[in-house]
Amino acid sequence: MIVETLTSPVILFFILGFFAACIRSDLTIPEPFAKAMSIYLMAAIGLKGGVEVASTGFTTELAAAAVTGLALSFALPVIAFYLLKSFGRLGSIDAGAVAAHYGSVSVVTFVTAIELLTNQGMKPEGFMVGVMALMETPAIITGLLLARAASKDAKQDGSGNLAHEVLTNGSVVLLIGAFVIGIIAGTEGFAPVKPLFEVGFKGVLCLFLLDMGLIAARRLLQTRKITINLAILGIILPLINGTIGTVIGTSIGLDPASAAILGVLAASASYIAVPAAMRLALPQADPGIYLSMSLGITFPFNIIFGISLCAALANFLAPITG
């Protein structure tokens, strides 16, 4: 599957962006255009997920996946935190901030995974969009608690504000909002607006991943804050989390595609909702570290290898449990 991955235009555009940044090309995607694409992609997957749920109805699988997703987002930062402190040699504040990123999820990794899996005949359930939205924020709480338990410098100021800021984060609101609109509108109501969200989707994903390639490589090239050990953790953490996610997903009875997606969600690290929250809640934590690990290492690793590995694991586990 990795070969198929590497010849998909979606991935090739990511590689093009990464390559362009490495040869220090001045290619840039204007920031408002990138934001626009990200809004489009979130609206599209939210709507599509909601429309699917409207036609399949609420199932026990949906409930199980939702609860599992929440639990994973709360729990995964704990493992990450201890590895980041011990093997990564980070202080408690930085470790807590990075851990929160790894408990949360990356929307683009999710979308790319849906694309790659669907192309190979593995179609995940529509409700996984909702699971993703649920997984975005709990990790922030765990990350903060870990940092605060271990360090007196991580002051409590503004916790009330933070809860509000996290729950009303633009991407969370847009994803859940579009998901609910999809449920209300249903297949029929969705039909008139469908063309834009169907026709453009994969092409926009290409251009968006072109930008992500540029951003990921520039992060890596411009930072001086990533040690070898942190770089290794940027690969080990998605492997651990991806395995946990896929195994638990399979064990709660999800089909292989959805189990793989749960693995991808666990493996992915946030680069939108969590960094902004950490800048507010743990201003002493160094953004150079968490952005470089999340965007510069884990994101490319997941796009090129992680997704395929979760899919392979899910397919391997399916006959065992099924």
């Binding site: 995607i29 920031e31 001086r224 804050k225 002493q284």
Partner: protein
Amino acid sequence: MVATVQRKRIEILLDTPLVPRMIEIIKKVDISGWSLIKIASGGSRAERWDHDEVTGAAAKSIILMIANEEKTNQLADAIAPLLESYGLLITIGNVEVVRGDRF
């Protein structure tokens, strides 16, 4: 010639996610107004960053304010505790202001 008065021109360079917190402080000091300018990119000895990122966490802005000396001092005192952890850069210059009674 139009009459002018002397006022302080305050610039606070900070991470965009921190702007709302700073505005709250500014309002407490009761400065008459503020204007926000986006920084497109920047760098220090260690790192270089561009605004062109999907994650807004690395974006920076300048909050520009005109205020009288008294308010300026109050603001500087109110911000002081955040200086280190927020990584703020604050500059204060003298300017002549036309219609300066408002500040």
